[in-house]
């Protein structure tokens, strides 16, 4: 079920009042929420509900086994089995065909012909997200950060529909305590929720879909037909599209959770204002960054084992983060670009300290230059993220670098405006947004409803007919 649809609106208008009515009776509320979330998930394909059930039961069993055991060796074995189970399921659904066909092609290149069984596995929506959440739960139990919770609580955590299919990746330690809170039905943070939902819908339906259909899809499909300027604008447009698409989704998810009385962590914080790649990853898909940091980068040794190992850890973390996004070598290159630049930034910082050099002055020019360079490095990496092959990425880059002649019919004033709005909106001071939310929350409910109704008019009239799936649904 997609958020920006009438079907979801009807679903939510039923779930919301029932949820608040059942809230005083936690057991009933949890059963209802699991049922509602399974219905939401099964709307795509009911068979995948079984996968969610298996993941819930399997991880709960391992969490309990780990918790009950005092033998560290046994605990490690159970943890290893849980990780293997989660990565095994993820690997099968997401990477089976990729690795088998890659191996087949590599063997063929060295003269060995094999005909493995390629099965065109259908990727269950959101599998990467709920698998990472389940892993965080089991690993945190192993680390003795907390005890396993009851099965029903864990089932609610894993399946809670606002975050189920595309995040944000909510940690067990962030969500499970909220199940015990007494949610006061007289104090819903609706002002922020409505703001996030309306803004998220606008970003997704208007900005992201418009840029995708107006320039990005055409240029990336046939880069050879487009001039360097047109192609560069398509790359910038993609940067805005993917931000609007993904942050729009998580804004809606956070807003829906707020209306149900739950808080999710922030997932984006004006990423294109970042002054370095390190800064970028503190602002982009923040819940994934934190997950990778806590469950991959730090266990690998982080930055505590010397420079070379730090660079290796950064590179490994980002390459694996790239593969998490999709089963393609282009995602590996995307991760490698980020890992490489992060390692370079780390090296530069260390060198500066080693030589006793002061930090450069924080001038306006420097800030502008830092942001420009960072944004363009991110855009370079986006080319590999968006391209469906190396040759496609190469063609796009070649057009940008060497083919500046020709027209730019796709770079319309509306496209430029959408790109400008997408980037400029990230420079709007947080305080201004907070003030707007505060003012909105003080309007009477009927006025709020009317304002939101007009918001729906603009979103629906400006957006293209039909709803394109969210980019991150496929990850």
């Amino acid at each position: 079920m997609l958020f920006p649809t009438v079907t979801f609106a009807i679903f939510f208008m039923i779930v919301l009042p029932v949820s608040w009515l059942l809230m005083p009776k936690p057991a009933r509320w949890k059963l209802f929420m699991v049922a509602a979330s399974y219905y939401f998930y099964g709307y795509w394909n009911w068979r995948f509900i079984l996968l969610l059930v298996v993941s819930t039961l399997g991880n709960q069993v391992f969490a309990r086994l780990i918790h009950r055991s005092d033998d560290d060796r046994l605990r490690r074995i159970f943890l290893g089995a849980a990780v293997a189970m989660n990565l095994g399921v993820l690997g099968y659904f997401k990477y089976y065909d990729f690795f088998v066909s890659s191996a087949q092609n590599m063997l063929r290149d060295v003269g060995i012909s094999v005909a493995p069984d390629l099965v065109a596995v259908t990727l269950p929506v959101g599998i990467s997200f709920f698998t990472f959440q389940a892993l965080s739960y089991v690993i945190d139990v192993y680390r003795r950060n907390f005890e396993p919770v009851r099965l029903l609580d864990f089932a609610v955590y894993l399946s809670f529909f606002p975050h189920l299919v595309a995040g944000p990746i909510v940690r067990a330690a962030e969500f499970l305590p909220q199940l015990r809170e007494r949610h006061d039905p007289r104090r819903v943070d609706a002002g922020r929720a409505f703001f996030l939902i309306a803004g998220g819908l606008f970003k997704k339906v208007v900005i992201a879909n418009f840029l995708a259909t107006s320039i990005v899809d055409n240029v990336f499909a046939s880069p050879g037909r487009h001039s360097g300027y047109e192609t560069l604008m398509a790359v910038y447009a993609y940067a805005v599209q993917i931000y609007a698409d993904f942050s729009g989704y998580t804004d809606i998810a956070i807003g829906l959770a707020l209306l149900l009385g739950f808080r999710f962590p922030q997932n984006f914080d004006a990423p294109y204002t970042a002054r370095s790649l390190q800064d970028f990853w503190r602002r982009w898909h923040m819940t994934l960054s934190r997950w990778l940091r806590d469950y991959l980068y730090i266990p690998l040794g982080g930055n505590r084992r010397g420079r070379l190992l730090t660079y290796r850890n950064l590179m490994l973390t980002m390459v694996l983060g790239g593969l998490w996004h999709g089963a393609a070598w282009t995602f590996v290159v995307w991760g490698a670009i980020h890992g490489g630049v992060l390692a370079f930034e780390h090296w530069r910082h260390e060198e500066r300290i080693a030589r006793g050099l002061p930090e450069p002055d924080d001038t306006l020019m420097r800030r502008v230059a830092d942001r420009f360079i960072t944004f363009n490095i991110v855009c370079l990496a986006w080319v590999f993220f968006r391209a469906d092959s190396f040759s496609n990425a190469g063609a796009v880059l070649s057009r940008v670098l060497f083919h500046w002649g020709g027209g730019a019919a796709l770079v319309t004033p509306w496209v430029l405006l959408a790109i400008a709005v997408g980037i400029a909106s990230q420079y709007v001071p947080t305080r201004a947004i907070a003030t707007a939310m505060s003012e909105f929350s003080r309007l009477s409910p009927v006025i709020q409803g009317v304002v939101l109704g007009f918001g729906l008019l603009f979103i629906n009239a400006l957006g293209p007919r039909g709803v394109a799936p969210f980019i991150y649904f496929r990850f």
Partner: protein
């Protein structure tokens, strides 16, 4: 065993409306008011978007209960909105962005065929004063019409979602072919087809584009959404596969073909490739049969390209993976088992170009 924290052990009050220090405080709202706000928003939003909602409801499958149910709400809603003039702002916005016709529900019959037999001789086809059509039934192989860098073959590609990837791959393929130009790229509209001109009037769109682009040839791909009921010009509904449906769909396909070829242009009509779901494939085979026979009724002017052998396995069976021209195994079909991925689109595009080369002498 030491456990540092039980995640459910904390008990706190309701989520605070003010989380960050210094942030202007927000006024919390009772859950009942939240439901009121959402209800008002949906009512106001529906009144303002009534025109679009009616179009969406109307576009659902003619046979479906969902459509009937949706129209039960959408029609009176639209009447109320129209009476209150709340449907106007949407029109103004759409006019402003050049999409004033988005919500129009067309009621069109579309062109009817003028060709009635399969033995009609192909008329001479010319473009730009130069012969471009295929030859008359030969006794000796005549020279093919020539296109080169100075006189390019103008191509118009159009269709439903099935047209997208093969069309884009065709564009990539002919980027280095100097004798071919595709002025407008791929003209595609997802979820469309020939069965529902009330949703998107393809014949009108194609004839309009043909007029402005003046192509020598038109490459069309349809059918993915056409296995649904149609309405004939007399207003009767015909369920998919019924004799009435076959007659009406055939009329639309033949009518479109004739409307294009009567302007001395050729048509390359791509069939639907075999799909994963056997039941759906049975539907598509019926549609493909109509394309085949209608193209066959216009020899030398309409060329049907059967795409199944291009992306199927050795026995004509559905395959997700196939070797490409270099022998590398590639995924050729999308996850939905209907559309094609780029390598599959490439194979289809190569077949279209090969067919064109068999009809014309494309130099450079």
């Amino acid at each position: 065993m030491t456990v540092t924290r039980d995640p459910t052990s904390t008990t706190r009050t309701a989520p605070p409306a003010r989380r960050r220090t210094g942030e202007p405080p927000r006024r919390p709202m009772p859950a009942g008011h939240v439901i009121l706000v959402l209800t008002v928003a949906l009512v106001v939003g529906s009144l303002l978007n009534a025109r679009g909602m009616l179009k969406t409801a109307n576009s659902l499958n003619l046979d479906s209960t969902r459509r009937e149910l949706s129209l039960v709400f959408a029609k009176p809603l639209y009447r109320v909105a129209h009476f209150l003039h709340t449907d106007r702002p949407r029109l103004w916005i759409q006019d402003l962005i050049g999409r004033g016709g988005d919500d129009r529900i067309a009621s069109v019959a579309g062109p009817s065929p003028t060709t009635t037999t399969t033995t009609a001789p192909p008329p001479p086809t010319t473009a730009g004063g130069r012969s471009v059509g295929p030859p008359p039934p030969p006794t000796t192989p005549p020279a093919k019409p020539v296109f080169d860098v100075n006189h390019r073959l103008r191509v118009y590609l159009a269709g439903d979602s099935l047209a997208e990837v093969p069309g884009q791959e065709y564009l990539n393929l002919v980027t280095g072919v100097n004798s071919i130009t595709v002025p407008n790229g791929v003209d595609k509209k997802i979820s469309s087809g020939l069965s529902r001109p009330d949703y998107f009037d393809w014949p009108a769109r194609i004839l309009d584009q043909v007029k402005s682009i003046d192509p020598n040839t038109v490459v069309l791909t349809f059918g993915a959404n056409d296995d649904q009921a149609v309405q004939s010009p007399d207003g009767k509904k015909h369920s998919f596969g019924s004799p009435g449906w076959i007659a009406e769909y055939r009329r639309r396909v033949g009518g479109l073909m004739d409307a294009i070829v009567s302007q001395n242009r050729t048509v390359f009509w791509l069939g639907i490739p075999i799909v994963r779901d056997p039941a759906r494939w049975a539907h598509y085979q019926l549609i493909d049969q109509i394309y085949t026979s209608e193209a066959g009724a216009r020899p030398g002017r309409v060329f049907f390209i059967d795409t199944t052998p291009i992306v199927a396995g050795p026995q004509g069976e559905y395959e997700d993976f196939l070797p490409d021209s270099s022998g590398q195994t590639r995924r050729v079909r999308s996850a939905d088992g209907i559309h094609v991925e780029r390598p599959g689109g490439r194979l289809i595009a190569e077949a279209v170009l090969a067919k064109m080369r068999s009809v014309w002498d494309l130099r450079g």
